[in-house]
């Protein structure tokens, strides 16, 4: 798993590459939490374009970050989930909490319009 990270104002973009399972879930959780704190992020965009696999350990990290950013009145979005990854995001109901979007640009455009 490779983690790439970018801040645009109060938006934290996390771009992941690889497989999201038990092995990497803890490191990813710590990494994102530190970045949220450092940046005082109000929007978290998780880019899954290059993630080929997610299991329930990975979903646990995603839902945990959603809860965290929501508690701070922030928002979270998921960008670019591949079909199999999207299937399990839907099966787990995560898509009802965190909007799934095609790409980062789409999200940034949308929440600017929402006035976030």
């Amino acid at each position: 798993m490779n983690i790439d990270c970018k801040n645009i104002y109060d938006t934290l973009i996390i771009r992941l590459t690889g497989e999201l399972d038990l092995l990497v879930s803890e490191k990813l959780r710590e990494f994102i939490d530190i970045k949220i704190k450092e940046n005082q992020s109000r929007v978290l965009i998780l880019n899954l374009e290059k993630v080929s696999f997610v299991d329930s350990s990975g979903l646990g990290v995603i839902i945990g970050r959603y809860k965290k950013i929501s508690a701070q009145k922030g928002k979270m979005y998921i960008a670019g989930a591949q079909p199999m990854v999207e299937q399990i995001l839907v099966l787990s109901g995560i898509n009802k909490l965190i909007p799934l979007c095609g790409n980062e640009q789409e999200i940034i455009k949308n929440y600017r319009e929402d006035g976030v």
Binding site: D21, L22, L23, D55, S56, I63
Partner: protein, 147 residues
């Protein structure tokens, strides 16, 4: 099942081995007549069962034994058994309920995924002895999907 081919492997209960286990089963299952998406689903259920053995069965102790047996049947069916010798499950029925987890930080979706992607999920468990999760699925034969 009338077994056409099988493999069995055992490994330590460390998180590094979860991807090894799912990739190996996925590679073996490629002998079936099935789609790439089916292989992805197989990898997911193996990941769930093996992660459960590590996290719950062995409370994350990394040097315990997990055994995986995979069989392919002449009828294009797949059977996967994931076995640990850990703490076992007191109430299997409750454990298999959607969203049930004995760990507050987890989602309790593992068994739900296994049930969604496999035809049968059978759990045999004994407290302080261990747990065997047996997963079965039959894929359509070419002769069944044609016509």
């Amino acid at each position: 099942m009338n077994v056409k081919n099988y493999v069995r492997f055992e490994f330590f209960s460390c998180p590094e081995n979860v991807s090894f286990a799912r990739s190996s089963v996925g590679a073996f299952a490629a002998q079936l007549s099935c789609t790439l998406n089916d292989i992805e689903e197989i990898k997911l259920v193996v990941s769930e069962a093996v992660s459960n053995s590590i996290i719950h069965g062995y409370d994350n102790r990394p040097n315990e034994k997990i055994m995986v047996t995979v069989s392919i049947g002449y009828d294009n069916s797949l059977e996967i058994a994931v076995e640990d010798f850990g703490k076992g499950i007191e109430d299997v029925e409750q454990a298999m309920e959607p969203a049930f987890s004995s760990d507050a930080t987890r989602m309790g979706m593992g068994f739900t995924f296994m049930k969604s992607f496999m035809d049968t999920v059978n759990v045999i468990s004994e407290v302080d002895k261990g747990t065997t999760v047996r997963l079965e699925r039959r894929f359509a034969l070419a002769s069944e999907t044609d016509a």
